[in-house]
Subunit: 313 residues, 2 copies
Amino acid sequence: MKNKLLVIGTMAYDAIETPFDKVDRILGGAATYIALATSKFDIDCGLVSVIGDDFEASDLQLLKDLDVDVTGVEQIKGEKSFFWSGKYHDNMNTRTTVDTQLNVLENFTPNVPESYRNAEVMMIGNLHPGVQLTALKQMNGKPKFVVLDTMNFWMDHFRSTLDEVISKVDLITINDEEARQLSEEHSLVKAAEKIHAMGPKYVIIKKGEHGAILFGEGKTFIAPAFPIDQVIDPTGAGDSFAGGISGVLANTDTINFETLKMGIIYGSVLASFTVEEFGVNALLAVTSDSIKDRIEKFRELTRFEWNEKQNKI
Amino acid sequence: MKNKLLVIGTMAYDAIETPFDKVDRILGGAATYIALATSKFDIDCGLVSVIGDDFEASDLQLLKDLDVDVTGVEQIKGEKSFFWSGKYHDNMNTRTTVDTQLNVLENFTPNVPESYRNAEVMMIGNLHPGVQLTALKQMNGKPKFVVLDTMNFWMDHFRSTLDEVISKVDLITINDEEARQLSEEHSLVKAAEKIHAMGPKYVIIKKGEHGAILFGEGKTFIAPAFPIDQVIDPTGAGDSFAGGISGVLANTDTINFETLKMGIIYGSVLASFTVEEFGVNALLAVTSDSIKDRIEKFRELTRFEWNEKQNKI
């Protein structure tokens, strides 16, 4: 029996402009990237999301072909899918949202299919905290491990609901500025301590091209981003990262600090592929061998031997 | 016989304001931090710099007590020492220069003492490229290994002289934005390739709280910054880092990619101590045991084991 992973999040169409190129409408959304990333693992992944009747059958088929269960993806007639348009600036690390059309997301009430209410691992993507809470409450008791993604907008406007969600999860993944906002601490070490006290046993702080930091069990692990010759489109990097983490967690029976470290490594590697092409193209194409090859390189990138005798000072 | 390290750079007084505290006049300057960092190693370090007659005898004595040779530090009568005043903002990663008084630096002509013209390793701190070149030309032929620090200001205004200096060194240490400016490449991987072609076999890109990347011999090594509970004063972090690198390089007979990796680790650890107090205080106080302890922790921070069988996907 494969372990079950339930992913809840957005499915969307994106318009993206970078210094190199521009696309008007390509498949996007957090849950899409997360599910595609987790399809690299030997697990049973179910998706909960909402789409409009403009959503291409071929895009849904793409997920089905990878054995992603889309029973929980509700298609609303007469409405349009969530649409996001963004522009990346020269450094590719900052972007401007040009347009956000919530469309079907506006009245989204998640409905977790019966068959995934006992999922071992639940990945709650970046959504309104009320929606996140509704999905969490539909589960048969608390899943073995719950991962939460969120962002500054929800901290600004729905803090108390967000706090309730945070109190119920095992791992939160946020970026450095969001960690500082959530904790009101500048030092990330102190920020993580405060966030632990809010509920999550593990905190992963995402720093984009600068990598990620894992805090938990009184330990810290720091991983760089895998260095890329040329970033073409950063969209979906964070979601591929979350997908890699969720995939590793669902693919194991024991979840601990070491498992989470491996999650970060897989997540970083999957994200490094994602950014090498527009949209989901590179993530779709990546093979098990190319992932393994990059993990091996990743290890060499950060490894050093410390021998007191050799390196006497 | 100990190996010789020649350090050329500024000695200064700093006024520093942070969100936590403020000091009006404390010992600073790149060469000061570099020399204090290298004093942790079993090498023979000589300093070339310039100071005014306002420079406290006790500050010079502090270096002498640590066996730093200050024969090459010229004291100019009737003039004041280099003075820098800066203010750090909330995030401690950006600062504003409030005041720069070049004073003795304005007409600085370095004079490398005869006894250090055969130094194995030369650390050329951030100075006018013309001054850097003069010092380099005073050496008895090319030293075994030359490290260069520079900054965007010299790239803007003295590019051709800077290019000449860069063509003569083995390692350049610059931050990510400077690497991009120097190479006109956004990708740091591509930037390093271009900079290699300009001369330096090794390139270290400093990213402050996000760590550092070493490129050379077709290999890459990425190290995070050592995470600190509370940064009190970032002044001198980059120079302590450069001091750690120079110290490791001068303390060994074989300089290669592995040595440079250890240089980055020592440099990062020394920088992590420096930022924990104002000015040079923490760097002065650090012991060999506390350095070793932090290096051991550093290794645990970044280490992961990748076993294909355990982590099958």
